[in-house]
Amino acid sequence: MRHTISVFVENKFGVLARIAGLFSARGFNIDSLSVGETTDPTVSRMTILTSGDDQIIEQVIKQLRRLVDVIKVIDLTQSDYVEREMVLIKVDAPSAHRAEILRICDIFRGKIVDVNPKTMTMEVTGDEGKINALIDLLKPIGIKEIARTGKVAMARGKQDKNLAGKGQGGMPLEEVVSEEKT
């Protein structure tokens, strides 16, 4: 199953390499990764999309928490969250197709950010399904180039202020007494 994980890390050089290195060394998948500063300039927030069975995801999260530069890890998939990605798409735009392209752009609440006699470039934001649908529609017209940001995601509701600790002090993820009759 796919999981969207928020990772708060020290905003230092080399941290991205540690995270990427952890995934490659342990054979975990990264489907998408994005990173940027938070309101606290010493903290960066990464959004990582990864896939695997429950045991693998549990390992991914624990191994991330083990890194000294990782401040907090949240598996958003376990809660209600919003997820967005931005894409820039450059399409062939002979005059015969321009109206069609503009219409599609409009339906997807996109913006045309560059036009020239041969191509148009549109900017669209949305979740994965929306972006994939858009790409499918534009393919027959002729996509020349695509650049995607990778996902960013956030839990719905109140802000998560508590960045201190990794949840190690309390009950770690798996520390739930087995339900089995013993």
């Binding site: 390992q59 530069d69 190690q168 520390e175 013993t182």
Partner: protein, 555 residues
Amino acid sequence: MKISGSEIFIRSLKEEKVSHIFGFPGATILGIYNQLLDSDIQHILVRHEQGAIHAADGYARASGKPGVCLVTSGPGATNTVTGVATAFMDSIPVVIFTGQVPTSMIGNDAFQEVDIVGITRSITKHNYLVSQVKDLARIIKEAFHIATTGRPGPVLVDLPRDVLMDEAEFHYPAEVSIRGYKPNYIGHPKQIEAALKLIAKAKRPVIYSGGGVIRSGARQELLELVNKTNIPTTSTLMGLGGIPGDHPRFLGMLGMHGTKYANLAVTECDLLIAIGARFDDRATGKLEKFAPKAKYIHIDIDPATISKNVRVHIPIVGDAKLILREINKAVVPGDYSAWIERIEEWKREFPLSYQQDDEIIKPQYVIEQIYDLVKDRAIIATDVGQHQMWVAHYYKFNDRRMLLTSGGLGTMGYGLPAAIGAQVACPDKLVFDIAGDGSFQMVLQELATAVQYNLPVKVAIINNQCLGMVRQWQELFMNKRYSGVCLKCAPDFVKLAESYGAVGLRASKPAEVRPVLNEAISVNKPVVIDFRVACEENVFPMVPAGAGIEEMLLS
């Protein structure tokens, strides 16, 4: 007053109460070597940087204090990599300082530049490149803190030359605060309660104890638990010494070269209590067949080891010592008498054994004789191979700091430098390196280090004139097609020792073993003993790779 980075380095190490550094100099760290002359920290000059890191590791294992290693940039740094990985796999607290080219030249492929932080990222607990002298003291403080707390491990600090030359005020922080690093020591009471219930209800429990018991210093607590409950206890290679080797409930080592009775007990048990062990494949064999009838309790300081390889019913994250104390307060054992009786039968039926005649020395015999002679008085370092497994079988470890061996990485050549480090840490102890002839030849230059610093380590080479463990696999699984394992071309180890200024001895007949050992112990000098042993002896029992641990070859 502002002082140079090199001086800050020395002052910081003094703050950490470092008394010994194992190192090898080079251009980038000349400043530090200059400062060392005026300091009372003793520098031990090794003959190869791999020797420095293994010696620091052996020092740490023998003393419980962090080991410190200092090398130059480029080749100096890369020569430590095997030793860093060795310490990482076995969770050993060492701090490695590497020189680096000046910050202005980093990334330019400068002379003797390597990205050692990048190279060691996956084999250190954490690592640092110090980019400004003002950060140096804090980073050293953090490095020692991270290396020694939680699940211990190696931490590497890369020191660019200009950082060591620049000046700053010296201020050593009293405390560290790293928001992403807060190890948890206290086991959750609910989990402990649940574990106690399982223990009381079990009919056939087994304790599976690992290196975590050694690292956490939980030996007394484990012994108390075993004495209170009578639960049969097996150990990993790294856990040997966690419970006395001659304890009636001790089953010896489990796993690929475990005892038959330990493996049978694990296979048949209904409750497996893993303490500071990580379900490594050498211990578990085929996972589906490992303790298939059991519920698992897993005590470990590192949350990531829990449920990594197997699903655990009751995980308890925290320090083994503290958790065992809590368990001991309240533990009520079940009635395990029938189970213990069954295990005793297995012990009688499948003992470890070998045949010693009058002519050819059996390797096991040498190890039994060393044990018989020195018992608890010695620290034993080993290399990797058959001799290492025979040490695990025939040496009964009674203390947690007695066995120094590369369990996780299986690094040939670990033994001699580790023994040197242990002898530095424990000058009054007898230190043996039980070595393979193959392994010894990977690091034998360190004899010079032992001689230079009057470190009277005793190197017992179990000389079977081949890479014995590989030969064994080829005999058993490759139809005796021996390939690349013959070591008949070797130096005369007696003369070799003498040429280094050490004592060289040899035993070729069983009757010579004891006298030669006595002589080795009586001289206060490094000694190399060439034990000419049977070449084709195999380590049994053995579980073929990929099989379940009860499927053992006994001969």
